[in-house]
Subunit: 251 residues, 2 copies
């Protein structure tokens, strides 16, 4: 502890401009949901003798994600957790793929629970470990608190705090989610950076005053996805992986 | 992954009775608030030339904690964060100790922020590290989300998730806090154990259906404190430290 100059107020000082916390989108940004789910469900199907196109199943499952949340966002139904939305979508797809008869309650739970057990991208753990030495790291995801806690524990995702849409009963990109995380961090929006692979998420965060870090995940939707993600000057940073983010943020 | 028997539903199975998560009281249970604050404020006072009895100051500061929260719990004032309650108590004590003139805004912030920087008991980090291999670990404290995040990051307290009274806008021992944590864990109350050094906290948790683990902290209030804490048959477990808790819980 120094003299007066050493008394750095750790409670945020409005006069200074630094980033205190990084909050991360999770599905696609930190974990490879597609490869994880295809691997788990393919192994499951093989054991159960359920021959189906699991890659197609997973892509359609993910495709139902945004529409199912949008019904909640438009208040067409009350707050519903992502686990329940995933289960509803799974059940509908099981009918569509003609495999419903082979799936009892335990099996359906196990399949939906795969979203709690996704694996990280190769750069995720090392990058978060570096960033965590300098910043508060949090999730900021539409997954529920238990889903994110399981995922962070298992992957593992080195995190200091778990923030979920569930805390605010709003799904991203509703502004309540970004504002809610900033409020729980007891700081200013410009002290917080959202890191995400999805421009819509980042644009919504920027609209509520957060800083934005885009990370390219060119294979989130599989090997045939194509984009040119680093040509995104509207964000504060655009990086290829979390190692580059740590470089750019001095961690 | 095994055959049917291997498909353990990770989403809680109501039929099974195991503990999934341990949630911890923090002040006194995991960290030695008294010794930490006395050490920091004594060093601060020495630098500032503020000669006062800092041990007495700290004991009175802590003494104002429960009454200040009780006014919020009785709805005599709207929800107020613990940082604000700590600041109000600090300012009142600064007047009482005749040191207010030597304390500018930055100094007061620094002193109040000491609650974000408390040090763990000697057994805390090793005990949590063991327990974390088997259980989800969370805080469940009246400290705010930022306070607990700072504290867990700095001490460090190996945690999977941060739960604060702030999320529920109720202070312990209001039942909403215990119920709220169970709901965010998406499980049953009997799958969660509160670990705390304070019987009142544990009794309130038990009333809402949680399991309870008492941990003796005979020096929380200083070397002269006396109690016989292990003679508490009303709790599921009573242990001397977190190492013994890990032994008892098979971690």
């Amino acid at each position: 502890m120094g003299a007066h100059a050493g008394l750095v107020p750790k409670i945020p000082d409005v006069a200074s401009g630094g980033i205190e916390a990084l909050v991360f989108d999770v599905f696609g940004t930190l974990v490879d949901w597609r490869a994880s789910l295809i691997e788990d469900l393919t192994a499951f199907g093989r054991e159960r003798g359920l021959a189906t196109d699991w890659a197609a199943f997973v892509d359609l499952w993910r495709g139902m994600y945004v529409p199912s949340m949008d019904r909640v966002r438009r208040r067409e139904r009350p707050w519903t957790s992502l686990d329940v939305l995933h289960r509803e979508s799974f059940d509908a797809l099981a009918d569509q793929f003609n495999i419903a008869g082979g799936l009892d309650e335990n099996a359906r739970r196990w399949c939906v629970d795969r979203w709690h057990r996704l694996r990280p991208w190769p750069d995720t753990v090392a990058g978060l470990t570096r960033l965590r030495t300098r910043y508060i790291l949090g999730t900021l995801s539409n997954g529920g608190m238990r889903l994110l806690t399981d995922l962070a524990k298992g992957a593992p995702l080195p995190m200091d705090v778990i923030f979920s849409a569930e805390l605010f009963r709003h799904y991203k990109p509703d502004p309540e989610v970004y504002r809610g995380a900033v409020a729980l961090l007891a700081t200013l929006p410009e002290r917080v950076m959202l890191v995400a692979a999805h421009p819509g998420d980042l644009k919504a965060a920027a609209s509520t005053g957060l800083r934005t870090g885009f990370i390219a995940r060119p294979h989130e939707h599989g090997p045939t996805q194509s984009n040119n993600p680093l040509a995104m000057p509207e964000f504060d940073l655009a990086v290829r992986d979390l190692g580059e983010l740590a470089d750019r943020l001095g961690a």
